[in-house]
């Protein structure tokens, strides 16, 4: 069965440093991978999507890489700020068994704390 692992349950870093979060998957060939941010008491919010034929995607201080050979995505936040503290979820976008519909399968998340 498909398996998605986010290596760190929790990650603490100092303000101004680059945070790097890891997402690994097995038994999968996803066409897309997405990253979401979840704050306490709220629903996940989309951050970035990367396609299988893309190596890297950037949005402001965020960068995502996607290595389909290693079956791994890295999520970087540069110049981190305390406001970046949240849980970050990776999600694989895969077709369901019937028809053309797709579903997201989520990792368990990494709780990032940026210390001032």
């Amino acid at each position: 069965s498909q398996k998605i692992e986010q290596n760190s349950e929790a990650l603490n870093i100092q303000e101004g440093k680059t945070a790097t979060l890891t997402c690994n998957y097995t038994n999968y060939s996803p066409a897309y991978l997405q990253w979401y941010r979840q704050d306490p008491g709220r629903g996940p919010v989309f951050l970035l999507l990367i396609r299988e034929n893309e190596k890297e995607k950037r949005k402001e201080r965020l960068k995502v890489t996607f290595d389909t050979t290693l079956k791994q995505s890295l999520f970087h936040i540069t110049a981190s700020q305390p406001a970046d503290s949240a849980t970050y979820l990776c999600a694989l976008d895969v077709p369901i068994s019937s028809g053309s519909a797709r579903q997201l399968t989520f990792g368990s998340g990494t709780q990032l704390t940026v210390l001032p």
Binding site: A31, Y32, Q34, Q38, G41, R42, G43, P44, V45, F46, L49, R51, T87, L89, D93, P95, I96, S98, G99, S100, A101, R102, Q103, L104, T105, F106, S108, G109, Q111
Partner: protein, 114 residues
Amino acid sequence: DTAVSQTPKYLVTQMGNDKSIKCEQNLGHDTMYWYKQDSKKFLKIMFSYNNKELIINETVPNRFSPKSPDKAHLNLHINSLELGDSAVYFCASRYRAGGSETQYFGPGTRLLVL
């Protein structure tokens, strides 16, 4: 302006009761989902509807029954609530079932079964 809304936000109830959670999206999306997030923050898909048709029905006790009266609404009814049903339930929507578009999540319904 809320894109995906859920009611109620909090639900505290006794074991054995029946309860419903409602979800509405005003984004014009075709596809809606129910997810369960347990205490370890793991987000697991339960159901998905595309244009009022059930397309994803994961291994979920049949005490859980989704219903989509129209493509903007997806409700979740839970019969004979059990302690293990305590979790946060998120509704989400997506433009199309087959696209790569992002999902928009509601604020969640925190269910506590006593």
